[in-house]
Symmetry: C2
Subunit: 687 residues, 2 copies
Amino acid sequence: MNPILLVPLAGIVGLTFVAILARWVIKQDPGTPRMREIASYIQQGANAFLRREFQTIAYFIVGIAVLLLIFLEWQIAVGFVLGAVFSLLAVFIGMNVATRANVRTSNAARTSAGKALTVAFRGGSVMGLSIVSLNMMGIVLLMWLFGVGPEDPSGVSLLVGFGFGASLSALFAQLGGGIFTKAADIGADLVGKVEAGIPEDDPRNAAVIADLVGDNVGDCAGRGADLFESGADNVITTMIIAASPFFFSRYGWAGILFPLIARAIGVLATLVGVFLVQGRDEGNPTITVNIGFLGTALTCLAMFYGVARWMMHDMSLFYAQVLGMMGTLVIVAVVQYYTGAHGRPVRETARYAQSGPALGILAGFSYGMESTVWAEYILGVIILVSWLIGGGGLVGIYYIAAATMGIKEMKGIIMAGDAFGPIADNSAGISQMAGLSGETRKAGDALDAVGNVTKALAKGYAMSCATMGSLVILFAYLFEVARLQGIHLTNLNDFWVNLTNPANICGLFFGIATPYLFSALTLRSVNDGAFKMVEEVRRQFREIAGLMEGKASPDYARCVDIATANALRKMLAPTLISMVIPIILGFTLGPWPLAAYLVGVKASSAALSKALFNTGGTLDNAKKLIEEGHFGGKGTDTHAAAVIGDTFGDPLKDTAGPSLHILVKLQNIMSITLLPLFVQYGLNLFQ
Amino acid sequence: MNPILLVPLAGIVGLTFVAILARWVIKQDPGTPRMREIASYIQQGANAFLRREFQTIAYFIVGIAVLLLIFLEWQIAVGFVLGAVFSLLAVFIGMNVATRANVRTSNAARTSAGKALTVAFRGGSVMGLSIVSLNMMGIVLLMWLFGVGPEDPSGVSLLVGFGFGASLSALFAQLGGGIFTKAADIGADLVGKVEAGIPEDDPRNAAVIADLVGDNVGDCAGRGADLFESGADNVITTMIIAASPFFFSRYGWAGILFPLIARAIGVLATLVGVFLVQGRDEGNPTITVNIGFLGTALTCLAMFYGVARWMMHDMSLFYAQVLGMMGTLVIVAVVQYYTGAHGRPVRETARYAQSGPALGILAGFSYGMESTVWAEYILGVIILVSWLIGGGGLVGIYYIAAATMGIKEMKGIIMAGDAFGPIADNSAGISQMAGLSGETRKAGDALDAVGNVTKALAKGYAMSCATMGSLVILFAYLFEVARLQGIHLTNLNDFWVNLTNPANICGLFFGIATPYLFSALTLRSVNDGAFKMVEEVRRQFREIAGLMEGKASPDYARCVDIATANALRKMLAPTLISMVIPIILGFTLGPWPLAAYLVGVKASSAALSKALFNTGGTLDNAKKLIEEGHFGGKGTDTHAAAVIGDTFGDPLKDTAGPSLHILVKLQNIMSITLLPLFVQYGLNLFQ
């Protein structure tokens, strides 16, 4: 059998199981009328947001596609549209099932905790599988359309349009969803928990539905689009590297196929993992989920081994992949230590909160910054060692790409676990609002705890993914510059990104600074939305008679509207900025200083996003630790201080941090796409 | 006249005026017995801290000097000791006069606001002048000792020991002082203002003297050592660049003299500025101070013009210097906009504080991050344009150094203004504690406002200084690598810091991450100290009978002790880390990846420190804006939220931010010093 056939085959199997799992989830009983009513609010809110978000994105897609068609090849434009549409489609499917799985999880929890786990995890798996499958199918479809084959691999360069389209969708989805979710969350908490003193997810709080919708459009849809993008970018850019004369003469067509085959393996291994997760009423649910992760990892390793041995005839590629996978585990362990509810950092942060919010936040911020260092150091070592496994030099680059594949392989199952989080979260909210029994809620809380573990895992994982992935994109960019400028590559010094050149230093400086601007804008967008939400919830409490006594219902839809309008308006400026800067630099300073810029953005985002992520995580769990009864427990000044810390940390970890990952990838892949224009029409001031 | 004679001459003139100004300040009347008593507490506390800090530093100096003597030339060891000792001496002189000027300023304010301004500014000028003069004298002394002259300029490389010594002192002084001042400040505020509800600088607060001591040992001594270092580093590294065969064949001895002459100009121009500041009872005191700054700047420009025209015969050097000076002004304006009390960012931050501390802090943090971007972009442009003024290529490097000289020129007067800040601050505290009349306090408040302006100026200035200065150090490092490896330089690509080499990428990653670790450790040191201080002040309120009623005195010395012990213990770990990392990288990866590491540290610190600085500044002034009566004014929830924000921001701007500047410079100059060892004994894994 021709090995490339494995790819569409795996895609079809994956999509078939998407349909099977989705049907299975929908077939489950959605519970009492009150539960259905609440769930329908969430569904309507999420759909309304997605519809308006997709509309906004559509304008951009059409506009940019036309420009690409005019200035570049038609294949780029077609790929761009397909990438954007497939990304949105995967997210749409995944979120639709997620917003149905939540209430069914609640209902299952009424009779069986194990069943609830299975429902929630399979609900999340639909997102995971639809992403990896559609991703791969899109690329194969384009290869067939562009006639890319062993005889003429040059068309691989045209695939970047797909990555660009996926990146743009992802940026919007992550930014829009991230701004929505945190504005709603903070708004709901500030008035509900802090001012009115009512519990989380209380039906009297007007922002509570917006908050639950936020879990879906932010955590679920946003992260999904992010991973769709990083998957597409990674496969395409590794193929571009393999298609360069230097590597094509070495590995031939197999080198180009390798990343695709690896992805197909990933889809099949994800399926294995999904079906290994069988909820049981007894025992630790975290172990149940971990069995799924482990099953996927082992399946991947076994199949990797085979591909490296019998297709690539190069065991070093296998070692590099294993290194990537193992290194990521270490990073996840570091993240767990710094943000885990029972590690020293979280305990210390909670202890400092005894002296008020300022010291608590300072402690959380300092641990967040500290965690950055270890993660970055480990990534540096993975890069160095995988390069050396490949013997260093220009050849070693392919092994860095292989290590990255090792990381990306786990994407489907990690995403399933991540989407499981908001489903469990939503389910807990629905149970609370529908007034289900204490027993059911306890089962829900157990699920929620598992969700926190899988979400933390997904975060550590997404960090490695983004950093390593963007490095591979950077190399693809460099190979493309060499191709377009007709440089015959023989060693690494043929790339002209010498850090001692002031034009490159200037590029690096710009690159290091840009993520700060991007984060600043996204944080302020959340602030703005939260501020408006606070005013609205306060207004409803004031103006709707009988609301506080539970005799009247709040106007949930109004809050969803406010969050939606704010998110859609505020996602534009960061997007435009992130697109304009590389274009200006590309046309003025030229391709090499732009490469230095891209390195700067990458390195700075990697560090900053980790600091933001883990600061938020540490502060969040410090609050939870106190709520478990430590340092005085709920209702004390220490708890109030920790709540303030959590509110500060939330947008760092759920809006600014994740958006940075996409900023990096979008700027990189866009630069590759537009590279022919920079080379042809640019001023090239510093060649 | 031989132009080099201008240098010791200017140094002697400078030191003479240090003596004259110090005598003049001490001759002023220190006021009532109560005022003298309070001032003596501050003096004793500051001296006790300095004595213990100097002891700790002495161990390090002796230890490292012995190692340098064994492994490198004796000149390096001697220079190292002299650099460390001169730095501490300058700081000691400056701080001793500052802790006498404070009470005399208070006393002068009782009769004349203008006189008070003059006393405070001249008190600060002693620090400014002693730094620039001793700095220059030390370098000239070593040149004479090492026999550096037009015939044999090679000894210039031996001067790095002086920079290394100055850097080490500065790191300790800034870290120790920075941790001391913020631990004391936060501790005093948290119990005094927040819990006990007594005003700032209330004599019943046990930590109040520690707080006032902190102003001196942190803001004054710490910043002084920082600027001593950056001056030394800059002159020496520019001389090293000029002494390289490439530049020596171009400019000869004049190229080496140029930075020294520029420094001598700076000393003389500072004197002009100091005597132009003549306090008047009428009129705006900010204008009075600005006249001094303007006088210095114009004097510098005029003398620069002469040197460029008649000594260097190259007007482009003049243009580069003007560019540096003007660019810094723009950066200062940006900092003023973002942190100034009446700009939009501060107003918005105050507005968000209406929804509680979390949104307020988020807003301040986002503006801090945003300001970073513009500052970095401007610096990028200064680098690029000054390089182009010099015609680009390898030659252009010298013009980047010239632009940096243009910035550094203003050091003396800026430092005078900066040291003026804590004197005015202390003076206000003494007036409050001694119960002086409302009229006197009003004059003190006006001075304090001027102090805030000069401090903001000094911050924006120190940022440009540190970033540009460290870039020049980096180039000196590269020229030294080339010299030691026998590379004949003809263009920029002869330096092997290609960003596409994974060993360099790894170095860059490590470099980008390290500042996060450093900041995390310093912030937590402040937290620890503040936590202990809170416990102690609470204990004294609880255990000392009659304290709250003003019938008993608190134990001030105990609080000073706690802050001292904490600061001295906690400054060790960050120092060791910052020294160990480059040594490990230098001996393993080799000199080029170490260069990439240094670039990473520089770029990341530049961005991060600006974000930390300006976040703190914005939050501080948002609090002040509310205290002026906006958004409800003092005593409201909004004010409480802003106070929390300020407490969070304080250590960012006064401990973590400033320490990062020194981290960068220490690591750079230490790497140059140890370079011969890396080249000779290192593994050089990635040559």
